[in-house]
């Protein structure tokens, strides 16, 4: 799989209509501090898994608090 980018992750979040303005999300700030609650976060991960055809185990979730964390995690999988 080619390397995923921040823009791709934001595009996935935007297309899933999970937040009001996905482009306004800071890349290095926890999503939970930007209005993304636990259910929305599950929705974000679900859409990433579906679009990129990957599986994110529950035990890895604590490492995925920011968009940057998510990109690094996926690229190291």
């Amino acid at each position: 799989m080619s390397k995923v980018t921040v823009d791709q992750i934001i595009e996935i979040i935007e297309k899933a209509h999970l937040v009001k303005d996905a482009n306004a999300l800071a890349h290095d700030k926890p999503l939970s501090e930007q209005g993304v609650d636990s259910l929305d976060f599950s929705g974000v991960l679900f859409n990433i898994e579906e679009v990129l055809d990957i599986e994110i185990p529950d035990e890895d979730i604590d490492r995925l608090q920011t968009i940057n964390n998510i990109v690094i995690y996926i690229n190291n999988k």
């Binding site: 209509h17 609650d37 929305d40 599950s42 929705g43 679900f46 898994e49 579906e50």
Partner: protein
Amino acid sequence: MIAITHIGTYLPENRVSNLELIEKFEIDENFIREKIGVGQRSLKSSDEKASDLCIKAFEDLLNKADFSKDEVECCVVVTQNPDMSIPHTSAIVHGALNLPETCACFDISLGCSGYVYGLSIVTAFMQANSLKKALLFTADPYSDIIDPDDKNTVLIFGDGATVTLLQDNYPGLVSLGFDFGSKGASYKNLTNEGVLYMNGRAVFNFAAATVPKSINKVLEKLQLDKEEISRWYLHQGSKYIVDTITRRLGLKPERVVFGMYDYGNTVSSSIPMLLSEDLEGIAVGEKVGVSGFGVGLSWASAIFKKK
């Protein structure tokens, strides 16, 4: 032709507010209203059993439908929280209602998909045995198995029961087709070993991925377009999952019925609870869709037409 003609319901009067749990679980009112979609939960008394809830739902049915108990030929209860492990709860209901000895009784052990499965099973059983009248009960009192400190479950589930009267050769909702399925390999995500355990993320992923496919499958099988379905009754797992399925299927939100805010997720009762409110208003020729999903992990979707 077997049809759903009347639905009786019962919700215990006692309510427990989720708003009082905001501080305990570090959530806000918006999360309760817009995501969980449950402001208060119906709670039975501790000595009430599944059969007691069924009997209350039957009393409501008697107020809605003109029929005699002596005519009932089949009595089925969908539950995974039976009064006791032996006998089947339908036998207890049968005895309490003094139904005829010629009436067949059995339980169906399914959770949130149970009502849709039950409709298919009972319809087929009636057709195979030339039965005219059957009662399909749903009652799964989860309050007996909920851990009050578990945020994943305590905010969601409420107690309730329904009973659907199915009759041969009567006007009502007639099934056009079903789709069923299971992911037994994932059963550990929703279990009861004394206390209910739910991996909310796994159950959400399952529902978001599977239910739209199931609904599309039954539509394709019947060569119907989703625009031809006037109302959708999805299992009320949470507002978030109902909204997610609505969005992923591209359904018009105004056609998707939502109504769990005042009593919670009543498991196999959630679909008939909502359907009971609309049943009389569904016009002849109108088609409605239903889909139940959850424990198992299991799902069942169907399309009905008012005839």
